[in-house]
């Protein structure tokens, strides 16, 4: 080691951004159990009837994603940024898929392995700890690749989609869902506002919102054929309403884990839900490697 002073990069790509992004998800899983549903899915559910419980909404959403990917028993699926493994375990248990999950957070990996064992699907679930660009995965091997609210944390988004393309079989499909700016003008005006910074930097460490048109271009540039786009803004609004209710109800327990935590979570939820449709949108994009 040299004693040279380290300069922090202004833009991610260096180590620090990954470190802090990691830190949000590597917090005590009990924190997330206090506001998420029992499957610990940290992304929008689906409420086709409008009165679903969060559990039911997340279950419907995972069936939706499985349908978008077109998976069946024996399909090999890669979930990039797999969180606490709700989708990984769901695919293994409900569809009989062989699933690989990638997470940079060691605590999430431990949690998922224990959960897969508890569900009796340990042999169908493999968790790889690390960042996508660092881990070793078999090329051309997967029927489906998913990025469920994870690509926002990737400094190199075009590179991540190019990697997904190379890991897919020639008939494989990618599902990507993400929070986006409404358009390029909103991004220019709001990217550096305090509310945006509070959510993207103070809460998550590092995340970057871009308009969905950018993702479409990255998909095209990586060689994909676009198959569909779904607006998930309204279901995410409803999902965050329920997370807020849970965080409010469990405020004392959250603050016991970390003082002031419930207020910070509620602020993050309030900002997110105020912004939907005005500055931000939630979209899911599906693209295939088929010609």
């Amino acid at each position: 080691m040299t004693a040279q002073p380290q300069t922090e990069p202004a833009r991610p790509g260096g180590g620090w951004s990954h470190g802090v992004t990691n830190a949000h998800y590597d917090q005590d899983p009990r924190i997330f159990q206090l506001f998420l549903d029992s499957s610990m899915k940290y992304s929008p559910g689906l409420f086709p009837n409008g009165n679903e419980s969060l559990e039911a909404a997340q279950h419907k959403k995972m069936h939706f994603i499985a349908g978008q990917l077109g998976v069946k028993a024996g399909s090999r699926v890669l979930d990039i940024g797999c969180g606490w493994g709700s989708f990984v375990c769901f695919l293994a248990k409900e569809y009989g898929c062989d699933v690989v999950g990638v997470t940079p957070a060691p605590r999430q990996a431990e949690h998922i392995r224990a959960r897969a064992a508890g569900l009796g699907v340990a042999e169908r679930v493999r968790i790889v700890v690390g960042h996508l660009h660092e881990v070793s995965l078999p090329g051309g091997a997967f029927d489906g690749v998913s990025f469920i609210g994870s690509i926002t944390h990737f400094p190199d988004k075009p590179g991540a989609l190019a990697t997904a393309w190379s890991l897919l079989k020639p008939t494989g499909t990618t599902y990507l869902s993400e929070t986006c700016f409404c358009n390029a003008a909103k991004r220019r005006e709001f990217a550096s506002r305090p509310g945006t910074k509070f959510v993207l930097q103070d809460t998550f460490g590092w995340a970057e919102l871009i308009p969905v048109s950018e993702y479409i271009r990255y998909f095209e540039d990586a060689g994909f054929s676009l198959q569909g786009l779904t607006d998930l803004t309204a279901p995410f609004h409803r999902t965050i309403e329920i997370w807020s209710e849970n965080a409010e109800r469990n405020g004392a327990a959250l603050d016991a884990i970390e003082p002031g935590l419930s207020d910070r979570l509620l602020k993050y939820f309030e900002i997110s839900n105020a912004a939907w449709g005005y500055t931000s949108k939630q979209y899911a994009v599906v693209a295939s490697k088929r010609r």
Partner: protein, 85 residues
């Protein structure tokens, strides 16, 4: 509906969103000067108004508006343009 009725309805939405039910807010009060108000709260007020009156306010209004008076004028214009059938 007269402009003052819009103002009254909007004032109720503002008081409810900001949790200031007992405070009298004049139509020309700058909303951004009220206690606890930041841009996020204004967005929540706008969202409630759009829902209540079934209108879509222009971005120039959404992100630049300062008073209840201004909001009432804009809502009034939109409701007149698209009267309930």
């Amino acid at each position: 509906m007269k402009s003052t009725s819009f103002e009254d309805a909007i004032k109720q939405i503002v008081q409810h969103t900001l949790k200031l039910p007992d405070r009298e807010i004049a139509p020309n009060t700058n909303l951004r000067d009220l206690p606890g108000v930041e841009s996020i709260k204004i967005l929540r007020i706008v969202a409630s108004i759009e829902k209540a009156f079934d209108v879509r306010l222009d971005d120039q209004v959404v992100f630049r508006v300062n008073t209840i008076e201004e909001l009432a004028t804009e809502v009034g214009k939109l409701v007149e343009e698209h009267p309930t059938p």
